[in-house]
């Protein structure tokens, strides 16, 4: 129960470390000699090991431990960075991701780790012998040395009746969190006397930079036996030896000649500090729920502001007017800032793609370079989580279908290495993400043939299409141009899934392609899902909001122009037949006024390829609204996406046009 409290923090950190590992390993593959990189990989694995062990996720701890061991051999240059090792490390990383997922689902125990562990340990076995020998050597050289002034102090203390005692401790081999344990031991011992020095130093102990044993020099009044017993009682202590040391037998440490063990352990520490300060700005972890609440309050504030504006207009007081105007600006700024706090860089998603492209390229025997730009572009967190799958799909398509085999590329006079470019940038209230490849491009003729073959269209219909419209046929459900079904893509789910997902986010997907030169798929997404642009319409006494993302256009239709086709009312718009529904029938709202009007206002909405005209009473205005959920009590109601509070405090329901159309 206590653990669950920390689980979220642990998982967050876990994913962060996994991301670092993934990125660094990818780079390491290209720069096998980069020792800085090795250090950062080692640190991430090491931290993960400690954290997972503390949380009691033993499988994750054992895998990270084995990784750490291999990495430490690489670091000490006892092993060489080979593609083989990189692959084994990647395997381990994949397993860690599975384990992390397993942990959230409570399934960690059931995941098989033996295979990967064996793969890792293969590398350890070869060097185990030499490592063990080295450890033995290190153990014998563990000696406490003191600085001259410390010796002066000890002399004075001994004259005052204290004794200097050296306690040599050995911790249990399987002790988890050795650093924390050592720290606890030191702290407990401080109640028994004054600790002058330890070897390794207290800092190194805390950072877990020691094997299983260390020596503590302590000034104490207590007899040696008492101290030894005191320490022996503590957890994870395997053995303690204590001896009183005479002052004149103390070893003096000369300054400047730092022991070799400290140099090796100090170096990565320094670089890590430099790195930390350069790349990470101070942050606070905040529960997304709190941000949602904050957003809610700000939404309220915006609404109250409009009320106040109305009152101020009625009163016509200049001073009041100016103050309200100032308040308005502040409120909008506040809203923008709150929205910003919910934003995260798309890097969070992009960072997994280098690995994806690497693996895909290996699988398909192609050479592909992934270029990423604009990874710092920010999107609302809720949007970020949703775009992963569509992007994975698009990138898979690019590598699998877009980029040609190296020999084919050479024949066309292209560089053998294909390029997939992933770009993100912001325009106004939207973020654009595009995936461009310099592959074979799409062939409009093939697409046409396919559409005919599948019976999506008649030959006449196809002839009338613009080239762009032809390309857009790939978004039709069940469309797939690749003849062979590969492991990579073409699993029966195609671009239509991508399109559905993006539309659900209020976004748009576009494709452009030149045969032989490449394809670009562009996704346009709203900055946030919390605020959407809507068209406010009136139906009887009720007011509804229709998200403009679904709206194709609004038209006015004369009653006499409405025809009946197979019991379905339709309107004909520029030669196109558009089925009509009366929204009040769909929603069951009584007292709609449009029954008697001669000119009807119709909102034409579009869901995928389907168009539908919704007859409403009055079009009121366009308005940005803050989406509020109907709450867990009502849950999901068909046709209702949520509610919003209008400037006058009234509630308008937001229609989910996917259910209507």
């Amino acid at each position: 129960m206590e653990v669950s409290q920390y689980l979220n923090v642990f998982m967050d950190e876990c994913y962060e470390h996994l991301q670092v590992l993934n990125q660094s390993l990818l780079t390491l593959e290209k720069e096998p000699d980069n020792s800085e990189l090795l250090n950062s990989i080692f640190r991430a694995a090491h931290t993960l090991k400690g954290a997972s062990a503390t949380m009691g996720f033993n499988k994750m701890a054992s895998v990270t431990h084995a990784m750490e061991d291999v990495l430490s051999l690489l670091r000490q240059k006892e092993l060489e960075v080979t593609p083989e090792i990189i692959n084994v490390l990647f395997d381990a990383l994949d397993l860690l991701e599975i384990l992390a997922k397993g942990i959230t689902e409570g399934q960690e125990e059931n995941i098989e780790v033996a295979g990967v562990l064996q793969g890792l340990k293969k590398y350890l076995a070869a060097d185990l012998a030499s490592e063990r020998k080295e450890k033995e050597e290190r153990r014998t050289t563990l000696q406490l040395r003191y600085l001259p002034e410390e010796i002066e102090k000890i002399k004075a203390a001994v004259e005052g009746g204290l004794a200097l005692i050296h306690l040599s401790l050995t911790l249990e081999k399987d002790c988890l969190l050795k650093g924390a344990r050592a720290f606890m031991i030191l702290r407990e011992l401080e109640t028994q006397g004054e600790i002058v020095r330890t070897i390794p130093t207290a800092k190194e102990l805390e950072d877990e930079k020691f094997d299983d044993d260390f020596i503590i020099g302590i000034l104490s009044k207590k007899p040696v036996g008492v101290l030894v017993q005191f320490v022996e009682k503590m957890l994870d202590v395997k053995a303690v030896k204590g001896e009183i040391v005479e002052v004149d037998k103390l070893l003096v440490e000369r300054r400047g000649t730092v022991q070799s063990t400290t140099t090796t352990s100090d170096e990565p520490q320094k670089t890590s500090q430099v790195k930390a300060s350069s790349s990470i700005s101070p942050t606070v972890r905040v529960d997304i729920k709190k941000l949602d609440d904050l957003m809610n309050l700000v939404g309220e504030l915006v609404i109250t502001r409009s009320r106040l504006e109305q009152i101020s207009l009625e009163k016509g007081d200049q001073l009041l007017g100016e103050t309200v105007e100032h308040l308005s600006r502040l409120t909008l700024d506040l809203r923008d800032q709150v929205l910003k706090t919910r934003m995260v860089p798309v890097e969070q998603v992009f960072s997994r793609f280098p690995r994806l492209v690497r693996d895909l390229a290996k699988e398909t025997g192609k050479e592909v370079e992934l270029r990423i730009s604009g990874a710092e572009t920010e999107l609302d967190r809720t949007v970020i989580d949703e775009i992963v799958d569509p992007l994975v799909h698009i990138i898979r398509n690019s590598v699998d279908h877009g980029i040609e085999e190296p020999f084919l590329r050479a024949e066309c006079g292209k560089k053998e290495q294909g390029v997939v470019e992933l770009r993100a940038y912001q325009t106004g209230n939207h973020v654009m993400i595009s995936v461009t490849d310099d592959g074979r491009g799409m062939d409009p003729e093939k697409i046409k043939a396919r559409a005919l073959e599948k019976g999506f269209m008649t030959p006449e219909e196809i002839e009338g299409l613009e080239e762009e419209e032809i390309l857009n046929l790939i978004f039709l459900p069940g469309f797939s141009t690749s003849k062979e079904v590969t492991d990579v893509s073409g699993r029966g789910v195609g671009m239509d899934v991508v399109k559905t997902k993006i539309s659900a986010l209020g976004g748009v997907v576009q494709v452009s392609s030149v045969k032989g030169e490449g394809t670009t798929i562009t996704i346009r997404l709203p900055l946030t899902l919390a605020i959407i642009q809507t068209l406010i319409v009136q139906l009887g006494e009720d007011v509804f909001a229709i998200p403009t993302g679904y709206i194709e256009q609004t038209i006015s239709v004369a009653r006499k122009d409405i025809r009946k086709l197979r019991n379905q009312e339709v309107a004909i718009l520029r030669g196109e037949v558009i089925p009509l529904i009366r929204l009040q029938d769909f929603l069951g709202v009584p007292q709609a006024k449009n029954e008697h009007l001669e000119e009807l206002d119709v909102v034409v909405v579009r869901n995928g390829e389907r168009k539908l005209g919704c007859i409403v009473d009055t079009l009121l205005r366009q308005q940005d609204v803050v989406i509020k959920s109907l709450g867990s009590y009502l849950g999901n109601i068909d046709g209702i996406a949520g509610a919003t509070i209008l400037g006058n405090g009234k509630i308008a329901l937001i229609l989910d046009m996917r259910a209507v159309a």
Binding site: K628, L630, G631, I640, I651, A652
Partner: protein, 163 residues
């Protein structure tokens, strides 16, 4: 835990918010009541919601569903009048408003005065009840809010109606 402790300290009494549906008096434990609101803003109807959900209101920026208790219990249909109130209660993690004809008072009732409810009390099925409290000549019907406002059941009913 906290609830029972408090009751013990106060010599085994419970505080009950008493309200009216028609002429009958009902009660809910005050610990479950968040607040009581007048209905001056009107209720926004929600199409396709369960029939006993009158609609939603805006409670300082929060959307609160309003359950019409008369419809919920299948009593005679209500008229929203001058005395009508919404009692906002916490059920699980959700806030729900109960539309009642009037709120009468808050009463401290000895636990010993609460008895199990008969199968049907004043037209309400015992399934929805926590018991009845007899105070002098008054008979106050205590609601089991978890059951009265169970959203699970609300959803099921909703589906049944649509299907």
């Amino acid at each position: 835990m906290k609830e029972t402790k408090e009751i013990q300290q106060q010599e085994e009494t419970v505080q009950i918010v008493i309200f009216k549906l028609g002429e009958e008096e009902f009660g809910v434990n005050i610990l479950q009541v968040r607040e009581i609101e007048k209905l001056d803003q009107g209720i926004t109807r929600v199409p396709k919601a369960p029939h006993f959900v009158e609609g939603i209101i805006n409670l300082r920026g929060e959307i609160i569903p309003i359950v019409d208790l008369r419809r919920r219990f299948g009593l005679t249909l209500p008229e929203i009048g001058y005395n009508s109130r919404v009692i906002i209660v916490e059920v699980g993690d959700a806030l729900v408003g109960m539309l009642v004809d009037a709120v009468v008072e808050v009463l401290r009732v000895p636990v010993s005065a609460v008895e199990p409810a008969p199968a049907i009390t004043k037209g309400v099925d015992a399934y929805f009840l926590a018991g009845v409290a007899k105070i002098d000549t008054r008979l106050i019907v205590l609601l089991n809010l978890e059951r009265t406002l169970s959203s699970e059941e609300a959803k099921e009913l909703n589906e049944a109606e649509l299907g």
